[in-house]
Amino acid sequence: MKLATQFRDGRRFPLHIIVFLAPAVIVYTMFMIYPLVDSLRLSLYTSDDRGNETFVGLDNYHKLVTDPLWEPRLKGAIINNIKFFAIHMLVQNPLGLLLASLLSSPYIRGRTIYRTLIFTPTVLSVVLIGFIWSMILSPLWGISGDFFTAIGLEQYAKKPWLGLESTALTTLSLVSVWQWVGIPMMLFLAALISIPDELIEAARVDGATGWGVFWRVKFPLILPTVGIVSILTFVGNFNAFDLIYTTQKVNAGPNFSTDILGTFFYRTFFGQQLQPGNPTMGATIAGVMFLIILTGVLLYMFGWQRRITQVEL
């Protein structure tokens, strides 16, 4: 309070506050905020061979959604990205919740060991995970073939899961689920552990079964975490790149069937063998990704988080 009034008296802004804030603010502004803003600006320009930039308004966006060269790629990438996200929401997060609810039971011996081991794939780089799984799924090595034979589904034993348009995207989504399930597991586990025992005891005394306690008592209490997990999944998925690039290369094959916004952005901006890089169109795709992610974050903040707080009150 004292300091605040001193400012109104016209005292100088204390130097030490500036010294403390300056390094972080400068690096953050220069390498994060400025590039994000400048990239949005670039999406409104077009550049010729000599690098001269001309302002074209929303023409690049218009081109992206109408031009026969761009439109199918954008549509494909968005649809594939939605599928990628849907599989994470339907498989990764429920699986994370299941594992967390098992691990949150105080009667399970070796909880810490299970938790630590199950989290291991999450700390490895996506590049390694991508190569590991493309080897395991390779019909040449036959590891996945052995698995399907063992469970009596021999018709799937020789299937090149990553090589077929019909299966590649789903397979890669599941590989990504396998890698990242540790994150929702940990977040759900933390939320479940923090529920007071008295609440659960009270429900049990009232005759609720384990299943009933979970859905009627625990699940409503961890809804804030459900929201956090969902928005983290959303942002992570619509920004994904490494797994597709590592396993399917820059063209997100076969026939663009695994192309998502991240690979589309990289290919456009950086170019590839036949097509030179196009920074302004790249910036435009980044602009589309920015809008999608921003919409998700705002929906979460104002649609979900607000309502949850009201329920808690």
Binding site: H16, L21, P23, F31, V127, W133, G142, V235
Partner: protein, 287 residues
């Protein structure tokens, strides 16, 4: 075993015992599923090519033992250099994130000045927006600054992207440092810089959390090394492994060996810091 099962008998009713068993079965199955691919890569990296295909599930024995994959990796790729680059980038970025982050968090949590909340909000913007979306301009900026294809470019980009969450976590933590302590130091005539140094040890758990949280994503990143520092001299382990694997894709020994080599440092870090990492994840969720 028998004493264990008899204690179980006394403590739990049969229905509960079945539930416990089922939980263990599910957890064991999933743990095996999570580890199986990694173990498979590890054991096969020490086998001859023939054995990799003939008996992939067997441990290497005297007949099948071979380190030819590792020899290829060391002959054909500069893994020691890649490790050095990854280490410089990760430690450099971590040091800057922690140094700049604690300073900014200290200013936001300690002083009431006009625009404090606004500044906090501005610095928090980057928590949810991925820095990748600004890549086109980041590359231009690095070209203009003459730091393209240097490790410095990577360090600065990772610092910028790590700061928002670091400042957010550290500010919340520093608000809990007791007032009396700081006021006592001020009465003794300590400068504000001195008091900042004094409280750092008090927020060590939060610093640990922030460090562990940033370490693994920086080490594992492929995107920025690929775009900002792709030359052989500046490759990080992740990019180096990516390129090597792409070139040697048909040399199974070399692929398995390089996969193992690139996984080892992260797994060691994980073993050392898993407690802290997990504590960080769980503490972050409660907030």
């Amino acid at each position: 075993m028998s004493s264990l099962s008899s204690t179980l008998m006394r403590r739990f009713r049969p229905a509960q015992q079945i539930q416990l068993m089922a939980a263990h079965v599910i957890l064991l199955t999933y743990t095996a599923f999570a580890l199986f691919p990694i173990v498979l890569i590890l054991i096969n990296s020490f086998k001859t090519r023939k054995a990799i295909f003939k008996s992939p599930y067997a441990l290497p024995d005297a007949d099948t033992w071979s380190t030819v994959g590792y020899e290829t990796v060391f002959k054909r790729a500069n893994f020691p250099d890649y490790f050095r680059n990854s280490l410089i980038v990760t430690l450099g970025a971590l040091a800057l994130i922690l140094f700049f982050g604690t300073m900014a968090a200290w200013a936001l949590s300690e002083y009431r000045f006009p625009g404090n909340n606004l500044m906090g909000l501005y610095l928090a913007l980057g928590i949810m927006i991925p820095i990748r979306l600004g890549t086109v301009s980041i590359l231009r900026l690095c070209v203009d600054l003459g730091i393209v294809d240097t490790l410095l470019a990577l360090i600065l980009v990772y610092t910028a992207s790590g700061l928002p969450l670091a400042i957010f976590v550290l500010t919340n933590f520093m608000k809990q440092v007791p007032r009396d302590l700081k006021d006592a130091a001020r009465v003794d005539g300590a400068s504000e810089y001195r008091i900042y140094r004094m409280i750092l040890p008090l927020v060590r758990p939060a610093i640990g959390t922030v460090a562990v949280f940033n370490m693994i994503p920086i080490w594992n990143d492929l995107w920025f090394p690929l775009i900002l520092a792709p030359s052989e001299r500046n490759k990080t382990v992740t990019l180096g492994a990516q390129t090597f694997l792409g070139q040697f894709v048909s040399d199974w020994n070399a692929v398995l060996a390089s996969l193992t080599l690139s996984a080892v440092p992260v797994v060691i870090l994980y073993i050392i810091f898993s407690r802290q990492l997990i504590r960080g994840l769980t503490a972050g969720a409660v907030k």
